[in-house]
Symmetry: D2
Subunit: 341 residues, 4 copies
């Protein structure tokens, strides 16, 4: 059986694991005050071209989203997000549990439109009863989106501009950021994100680490008192250096990038194969998640040797399925899958 | 430098780490649905003599406390806890962040008294205005306590009885449970805890794991809908099998017990040494945390070669300090420390 | 100037005010334990044909919705409501502030469809990842809706049945309930609502009282510990008898009904006039809120002598406006308005 | 039967009621945007000598405390308060329900000590692990306290100074403020409070109104976005002018002051009588609440003709009871009570 369900099925990239083993018996202070964590944060600041950035290492994505959004919003505010946003759909109400509404906007292949954000904010303050409504207090985007799509640099600049004109922060969920940065068609680099987003996170869990997400705010004043808030949210790992060691491994010599390149290259190879065999893509994803419409007979046949995810309900004759690659996907797995098509 | 600050300074016990490495490249489903996790849960049920128990694996202690307490309390209720309870002092308001008050009772070397719990509840319902007050909805105890002390079986039975007469659950925070179970003077075994407490957790972070806490409820109806609540609290690890693999290692052949025995034996050896050298114990701890009153000159001398924690403010001529052992403490470390006294 | 903006512009119905003045100097116990409140609750039970019902008197609508929804939902659940629902749009995030998501369904002239509720719940539990999503824990409807429309008895029965098959409570926001009960075309009586909805509230603020909303649960076990929850939500009025006196006045001899009849009769007279003059109704409301499309020139002319609400954005040549009647609207006000059309 | 249980047993002062009746049929905009409310706010600003103050009118005390504290605290902060503080004891966890801890300090006849506040804050930041603890984010005091006692001007100045040196706001709960301002022995005037406290509220419910509390912040920037927060907390009254009309009546020609003077004069007359008859005061209250130790036989005899409150548990031979006066207490009621002693 070869697996394409998701990008969190294996443990850590062997290089990351090697570092964890090497440092395992060392004794360091806890809660992220150790030298590994401090070094990892410096490496991340350097990769982002943000020498003064606040960098915080948390364990998982839902936890990170809830803690950051709780930190950024005032009590009467909500967060603007796409209908398909992870925080709107798949976090069991973690945002609402912190007291905040997710203000839903239409999605365009998983993306928000700067014009629609602008219109929402403008209409909101034009409404005489706006103080009876939840104020738009920040914008949440994911990159890649939950559908594998990417913002172009100009799209990101437009959204950033709309946010800053409105005086609200832009937050980017980078659970799969490595797969965005390595997409050949993308014109968005890590420093662009650090410059255009007030806060964002660099996903580790899905990109080579056992777990771990690195929150970055170019201007540290955007996240005052974030440390006790992490503790309050149960997001402060006792053995914090485990996060430091992993992000050090990922950012010391380009491993994070290499992982992204590998997975995206294989995903695009698979995408080409789908198209060559005449299958219709559900949408045009440039990253490690590929969505394709397959005849149910093909799906059933593949399912005997390959795992993948049924995306949405199964149709009468064909259905949409998702294939995901990661650092753990091998070239031969892709070749086998292609030969099965 | 040898370290006695705390029991979360090293990584995982080598045997735990070995399993993580061995299984690292396997691909399994996420979120705790994998076979390792299912097996680990069975091992824990077996160790607790609770064949039907609900077992949930979370990442850290504060997170676990907040999620369990949120699950057990109704909206108008609070949790009874000792003044020194971790949830009252050192969790940055995580319990209040879920909307619940910590109702504080006096502590006796870190422990609650069954009689005082009973009196609190009785007085509460005797007060005509009790519906204007936060109702006692559960009891939180820690074992070992934050001060290293232990409940005797009869103390635990008395508290359990008071809770059940009042119709409220008893919850035990076992962050360091391994060090309680292995204390030679203790008459409380794991199945006693599982029988007397409605919910408790078996700490992994401080007892051999990289991270991880196993919540156990002998009667699974005590924790309905706990899974989405874990997700909502950011406590559901994507690569859930990392928890399964670790608890499997800890519970498969008695490793959890051996870790406890090792650390407690060394701690008691140290305690004897303190007493033999004429130093006064701050309190009589039977577990891996030892609190002793040392002259400031001794403290300063030790600090050149040993790390430990200053407990409370530094006094004029002597101060209370804490020494903590763990699986990572070596016999020779203790011997060196004793020779330095 | 005559006013049709809303139904909360005047004080209390003179009969209600007379009772408040009459009892003003009496001294009674506070917090709703007085005889007036007890009697008012009995009158309401009697009007609902629910002899055992729990009845609670709160101050305002948003407060009531937040307290009831907080009481009914478990932590991982959300409330299903129409896109246009007051709780979704106009309560400044009061529901989310209690930690719960509003799960939005399409609205049909302000109403939910039983079939769509059923489909949502069915699809939800069919989704393999449903434990990562906010569970539908109750249904919220308003009657009349925010658009003045009404559920028919069969529609209400269908929704009630869907809820009870799914094991979740149905809650009805009756901020303007008096205007529903008195609508000639309605086949829904107060006992029907009490029978079909697990919890609902009878609005006082908009139907003759200075303020006040009466929450009713035919089965009192639906709202355990509601009293301390009211206190916690700041919804327990110190001089609780003010609520008792008012609801006594409204329910002692049919005043609540008469207020409804008066306002609805005048609203329907106005509706007829609109239609007779050839204006298009925005929607067909059988209650005290009328929505009509008027040429902007007419709107401007009317605005010199009459107040009303612009509903939605102003169009190029015509716009939708809302006219609202209440107990305080006089026949001659309607006649003047009609003559101005 | 004559009543001394509390100061919220009657309706409104007749002058307040007269205004409500006079304006009852007027139609005004809702939610506090009417002319009565604007005028009342100006009167309050004038009485406080704070021409720029933000003034907000809410319905009840618990609601006001929860909304203000929620507005002032950041997520990781708690509120310092006396053990006996209303927010700590008698609000059913309303503060914790907004996510914040009440940090308890010792009480001295209901009052906080500036030195103890200072010591708490100093010790807090001296603790190396302070970011794992709930930060002191504001100070709550009540004046009069729950025990009827008052801060002197110098005590208030000292607390204010400690707060401002620490950079945290001081909030004063003035549920019974009228009875403080009129106490002959007090040297604290309303403008002193407005100057020394960042936010405070002037209680209406217990001092002549049917209900209503006026929140004042000399510097309006202390309470940004308070209006939507009131709505979110269910504290925004639809017919907001009811609050405006009442506070206008209370502050237009010194009624608030006169009510205070009347009640305090009668309370002190009663206090003198207790002392003359040789009964021991439980504490020395200069305001409208008097606490006295009475033999149980006297208590039983009085209880046949007078209502009052048993304060704390009933003792063997004597008990502490509380007598409360208000605007509604008549001179003859006091004389009767004295004659019964």
């Amino acid at each position: 059986m070869i697996h394409f369900n998701s990008d969190y099925m294996a443990g850590a990239h062997p290089e990351v694991m090697r570092r964890l083993v090497e440092t395992n018996l060392e004794q360091t202070v806890g809660y992220g005050m150790d030298a590994y964590t401090l070094h990892a944060k410096d490496l991340i600041r350097s990769a982002c071209h943000t020498p003064d950035a606040a960098v915080h290492l948390l364990v998982g994505g839902t936890q990170t989203n809830a803690t950051v959004i709780d930190a950024l919003l005032r009590r009467h505010e909500g967060v603007l997000a796409a209908e398909t946003a992870h925080i709107n759909v798949h976090e069991s109400g973690a945002i609402e549990a912190t007291g905040h509404k997710v203000l839903v906007l239409p999605q365009h292949e998983g993306k928000l439109s700067a014009a629609e954000i602008h219109a929402f904010i403008t209409d909101f303050y034009r409404d005489e009863t706006y103080e009876h409504m939840v104020a738009p207090g920040m914008v949440y985007i994911s990159h890649p989106t939950e559908l594998g799509t990417l913002y172009s640099l100009s799209e990101l600049e437009a959204i950033s501009q709309v946010c800053h004109q409105a005086g609200i922060p832009l937050y980017l969920d980078g659970a799969r950021l490595g797969y965005a940065l390595s997409a050949p068609s993308s014109d968005v680099a890590l420093p662009d994100i650090a410059r255009l987003c007030d806060v964002f996170y660099i996903g580790g869990t899905k990109v080579g680490a056992l777990f771990g997400e690195a929150v970055v705010a170019a201007n540290p004043e955007r996240l005052p008192h974030f440390y006790p808030l992490m503790k309050q949210h149960g997001a402060l790992l006792a053995k914090g250096r485990l996060l430091g060691v992993q992000f050090e491994a990922l950012f010391e010599d380009g491993l994070y990038e290499r992982i992204g390149e590998h997975a995206v290259r294989l995903a695009l190879k698979l995408k080409d194969a789908f198209q060559n065999k005449g299958y219709r893509l559900f949408l045009d994803s440039p990253t490690n998640q590929q969505f394709v419409c397959l005849p149910n007979a093909v799906i059933d046949r593949l399912a005997e040797q390959v795992t993948f995810e049924l995306w949405g309900p199964r149709g009468e004759t064909e259905s949409v399925v998702r294939f995901v690659t990661s650092w753990a996907t091998r070239e031969e797995d892709i070749d086998t899958l292609i030969s099965l098509l």
